[in-house]
């Protein structure tokens, strides 16, 4: 798991440290170059000074190697100086200078290894006096100087870095406090608590949209839950009544074992009740499926006439006729077939259930985009029209097997499929006309 705070902390600390290191490296590089120059020019100046101080013969008398030059003090560090004759004798050397020749190089600067140690040497030749003056510096000493410099750069950095880290961590912790507070509040919540979260008055602008979004979500979940509870209560009611009928009829069938007529009547009623309950359960499942899953994504070409034929088939041969208008043939539309089939099936069942004996259920098309079904039933009283698509609403002209869910399912399925349902009573003759707007609302 990654923590924003941890990552920010690492980035900030690494960034600061890197900046520090870069600065140190920059200073080191610059200082090294400058120091080389200064020390080199000191070597050069010292060598020329020694050369100018030497006069003919003031060293000649001295025994070879015995002549002493006072040590050259420069910037607190002794330089080593050797004076050689051109024929290769050590004429003089400064105190502490090695006996070995510092350099064989021609005049100028040279790096040379003397006795295992790297030296920086400057050579001056004086042909007139027959002397070579060599002034050298141990590189080790130069490096020690530089090391000290870099130490003075890095040590404060290393000392301050933990302090800086603490400071960054504290700032981050403070910055993330509102987020932690929000997490705490959400953690403390029970799953029933859907009250909106109160954003602290000093909540930063980054947190406020999150709180707002969460509150919107809470509101939606709460609304869905309320709806679910209402539906469950209704479903319980709608299931209990047929179950009560079933149970009572079963008791009658048992009690009236001696009376065949009463018993057969009870058994027939049981069949009716079972049919109705079966249908109710099927409708409830359809509803639950519509509620839970959005199937509308699966679009396909739907052959309307074929779908209608399929949907109306099981209801055929009932008490009336079913007519599908010829203009529906060959009509193809794009949409979710399962949703449309569910809607059409419920509309058709509805029409057939309210059909008087010998009545006609007619499917047709108007204006090219309005699929309609007309029945010859009693229609729906005008004041009930807006209510019939509510779940479990059963109007005055209900059918014995009606569940109060058919039109609600139709409406929901059509809405999810991107269509719309319009219900009205027929004008010329009694009956209901249900229209599906195929282009959607």
């Amino acid at each position: 798991m990654t923590s924003i705070q941890g990552r920010l902390f690492a980035i900030l600390l690494a960034g600061t440290g890197l900046l520090w290191l870069c600065a140190a490296a920059w200073i080191y590089a610059g200082a090294t170059q400058r120091l080389q120059q200064v020390l080199d020019s000191r070597l050069q100046a010292s060598a020329h000074m020694v050369a100018s101080l030497l006069t003919d013969g003031n060293l000649v008398a001295a025994s070879p190697g015995a002549a002493r030059i006072p040590s050259l003090e420069g910037a607190g560090r002794p330089l080593s100086c050797q004076v050689w004759s051109l024929d290769g004798r050590l004429v003089a050397r400064s105190e502490g200078a090695p006996l070995a020749k510092l350099s064989d190089q021609p005049p100028g600067f040279a790096d040379h290894d003397v006795g295992g140690e790297p030296w920086r040497v400057y050579v001056v030749e004086d042909p007139a006096k027959g002397l070579r003056i060599l002034v050298g510096d141990r590189l080790v000493e130069r490096q020690a100087l530089l090391a000290e410099l870099i130490k003075s750069l890095l040590v404060p950095g290393l000392l301050i870095l933990p302090l800086l880290g603490l400071l960054i961590w504290a700032c981050l912790a403070r910055g993330f406090r509102p987020l932690r507070a929000l997490t705490g509040e959400l953690n403390r919540r029970s799953e029933e608590d859907m009250r909106p979260i109160e954003a602290a008055p000093d909540a930063p602008t980054e947190i406020r949209p999150v709180v707002q979004a969460l509150n919107d979500l809470f509101a939606k979940v709460e609304a869905a839950r309320r709806q679910e509870r209402a539906v469950t209560a209704f479903a319980a009611h709608e299931l209990r009544t047929p179950l009560a009928g079933l149970k009572a009829q079963a008791q009658i069938a048992i009690a009236a074992s001696h009376d065949a007529a009463v018993r057969d009547g009870a058994l027939r009623q049981i069949l009716v009740a079972v049919d109705r309950t079966t249908r109710l359960v099927r409708q409830l499942l359809s509803m639950a499926k519509l509620d839970s899953a959005s199937e509308a994504e699966r679009l396909e070409e739907i052959d309307l006439a074929a779908l209608l034929a399929e949907v109306t088939e099981p209801q055929r041969g009932a008490t009336g006729r079913v007519e599908i208008a010829p203009e529906l043939r060959g009509l193809v539309l794009r949409g979710n077939r399962a949703l449309l089939a569910l809607a059409l099936r419920n509309l058709h069942e509805n029409a057939v259930q309210h059909m008087p004996p010998g009545g006609l259920v007619r499917w047709g098309l108007e204006d090219g985009d309005r699929l309609f079904v007309e029945d010859e039933g009693p229609g729906i009283p005008a004041e009930e029209l807006p209510l019939v698509t509510q779940r479990f609403f059963r109007g005055r002209h209900k059918s014995p097997t009606g569940s109060g869910l058919g039109l609600a399912i139709t409406e929901l399925a059509l809405r999810q499929g991107g269509w719309a349902l319009a219900l009205r009573n027929r004008v010329a003759s009694p009956g209901l006309r249900a229209e599906i707007l195929l282009r959607g609302a």
């Binding site: 179950l243 009560a244 009928g245 079933l246 149970k247 009572a248 008791q251 009547g265």
Partner: protein
């Protein structure tokens, strides 16, 4: 005992009608508030079994209107909303009892008998007058401890007469207790039943009040 059942589910209505009929009651069934209102106004019911959710309104509103109008017929509410609050509301509206769906038919019959009994101002489950003992639940009659075989209708006539001994029941009174709306009233039937009862219980058990009706003779 004549009972009005108000229930919009056809299967359940049929079950209650047949079930209470088997328990010895004469039952009329209706499926809407409007029909229930019309039925109750004709009078003569000993109890009402009322569903709460009806297609054209709430049974509770109907009950409340009856009680406001001074109707005292005992009412048993049938509800599928099995919440305590609903039960309390039903009883406070004026219901005498309550039964949640689904229910036991025998229990329904017993509860209907109980509210009808209390509605008639009695507490005892058995009706007794002298040697005659009538058990409405078992639909059994004994005379001085010996069982008396009665037909369903004869039993109903005797029960109607024994509910308030001393009061006179007219022939139409008795007929409403015997026949539901759908049933054809047989002429002279009441006379025939009274005759049979006298034959089984003794001539002096039932007194004819000329021009008014019948009543049980108070025991000596």
């Amino acid at each position: 005992m004549r009972v009005l059942v108000v229930e919009d589910d056809a299967v359940l209505l049929d079950a209650v009608r047949v079930g209470l009929g088997l328990a010895g009651a004469t039952v009329d069934g209706v499926a809407s508030c409007a029909d229930a209102r019309a039925a109750l106004s004709t009078g003569g019911f000993d109890a009402v079994v009322l569903d709460v959710m009806l297609p054209d309104g709430s049974g509770l509103d109907l009950l409340s209107a009856w009680r406001r109008g001074g109707d005292r017929t005992p009412v048993l509410l049938l509800t599928a909303l099995d919440e305590v609050a609903d039960r309390i509301r039903g009883l406070d509206t004026g219901a005498d009892d309550h039964l949640g769906k689904p229910f036991d038919l025998d229990e329904l019959a017993a509860r209907v008998r109980a509210i009808a009994r209390r509605g008639a101002g009695r507490a005892a489950a058995l009706l007794q007058l002298g040697d005659i003992l009538l058990d409405p639940a078992a639909q059994r009659v004994t005379l001085a401890g010996r069982p008396v075989e009665l037909s369903r209708r004869e039993f109903a006539v005797l029960a109607a007469l024994m509910e308030r001994p001393g009061t006179i029941k007219s022939r139409p009174d008795i007929e409403t207790r015997l026949y539901g709306w759908q049933e054809e009233i047989e002429s002279n039937a009441v006379e025939v039943y009274i005759h049979n009862l006298r034959a089984k219980l003794g001539r002096e058990a039932i007194e004819t009040v000329r021009g008014v009706g019948y009543r049980m003779r108070a025991p000596r």
